[in-house]
Symmetry: C2
Subunit: 254 residues, 2 copies
């Protein structure tokens, strides 16, 4: 039997946000490879091997998965969210490029999923309604100057900005630095949303302005959304406002 490798994302967390294609791939696997907390979202079945690993060792994990597939196993590499967005798809293809040439003949497939930014947007309304960008604030794999250059470009071109990996224990100050940079370009009144654990049962939303945005609201499970100049709030009685970005840059249409 020929081995195969499927890279999947479990979505933001709730089982109802995992695609049926991913559920099927998981059910057919002989081996699951992934970061422990993502594997924990997958229902346990009999006769399936689970290879849990630490979050930092993406490439080793990818090589392990490819080795198993080359041995004839049906391997699924498990990411959260969408596997192509700041997740495992990239690491798998990098491992293929730099690894055993025989791996290029393997049957490798990626199944798309619901990435955190889409789940976070859905929690608050329609903030991604215009052009937008996604930037990871982690400087493990790129220079902080690159991140600053992208933040500046995104602000000057008036994209809605989704910030992945906004903070961790090792990087407590970078989100504050990013907000300062954005404040120099964007309006003080720009809506900023801290959406923690979007698309799970424990979602929490904090809504503020760029002027008042406190980086302490973010942790590893938070997605930060910074509005465009056109992003608007719709006030509601007794509840926090909806937030959306009109499709038209001319603002709302009568």
């Amino acid at each position: 039997m020929t081995g195969s490798l499927v890279v999947v994302g479990t979505g933001p967390g709730k089982a109802e946000l995992m695609t049926p294609a991913t559920t099927t791939a998981l059910a057919l696997a002989t081996d699951l490879v992934g970061y422990g907390p993502y594997l924990d979202r997958v229902p346990v079945t009999r006769d399936q091997c689970r290879h849990a690993s630490d979050n930092r060792v993406e490439l080793d994990r990818a090589r392990h998965a490819l080795t198993l597939a080359a041995q004839g196993r049906q391997v699924v590499v498990v990411s959260g969210g969408d596997p192509g967005v700041f997740a495992m798809a990239s690491a798998v293809f990098e491992a293929v490029e730099t690894g055993d040439p025989a791996w290029r003949a393997l049957d490798i497939r990626v199944e798309p999923g619901v990435t955190a930014m889409l789940a976070a947007a859905a929690e608050v309304g329609g903030p991604l309604g215009g052009d937008f960008c996604a930037i990871s604030l982690s400087d493990n794999l790129k220079a902080w100057t690159t991140i600053e250059r992208r933040l500046r470009a995104a602000a000057e071109a008036d994209f809605v900005i989704a910030l992945y990996n906004p903070a961790s224990r090792a990087r407590p100050d970078q989100l504050g630095t990013a907000f300062d940079l954005l404040r120099a370009i964007k309006s003080a009144e720009t809506p900023v949303l801290f959406v923690r654990a979007a698309g799970t049962a424990e979602t929490k939303v904090a809504m503020t302005t760029l002027a008042a945005a406190d980086p302490a609201h973010a942790d590893m499970r938070t997605l930060v959304l910074v509005g465009a100049s056109t992003t608007r709030l719709v006030a509601r009685e007794g509840r926090s406002p909806w937030v959306y970005t009109p499709r038209s840059e001319r603002g709302v249409r009568p």
Copy 2:
């Protein structure tokens, strides 16, 4: 009984890429409102009213849906892909903001989905592995100068670029103009992918370089991906290469 409104996306097309949360919302609806081809993806059930409309009348469609919800109906507004990305969520909240104040008391919810860019990326590997942006090339709702400004910023900051709505019969020349603009900034060898009908049974991928990119490859159902400087190809025997963007801007890791 109180009315409700849920804004959903059917995903890129295949039923296996629609989330269970969306399937459930559709099954519970008394009324479905949407652009005809998206409604056609939803299995027909008894006692459910379908309100199909043209693609151009987003705000009218949103108001119709809100009117039905205010009458006590369980309404689902049906988009393709993710409803928050160049789709109906934005129109619904714009209609709420500018419409009957009573609509603000309605139970309105957005269900995230798999947007075209994620499905297109999964078809070819992991091209969105780095920071990326999504730009709609349609100038129905924004000035072409805004689009050019964003393309330029995205190229200069070295984002992977996903182009939604790259071409239509009314706008045959804009994608060519966009490629010319990008050629002035980015390397001629930058990978460009035309992914048609990603995440359906009729997917077609055309892979080329920015120098050679022919706008005639794109139509209304195409998503165009333009790589970053770090985006790489992994050659395979007898098949088109995988495309991915390494997480690290320093390129591949040994």
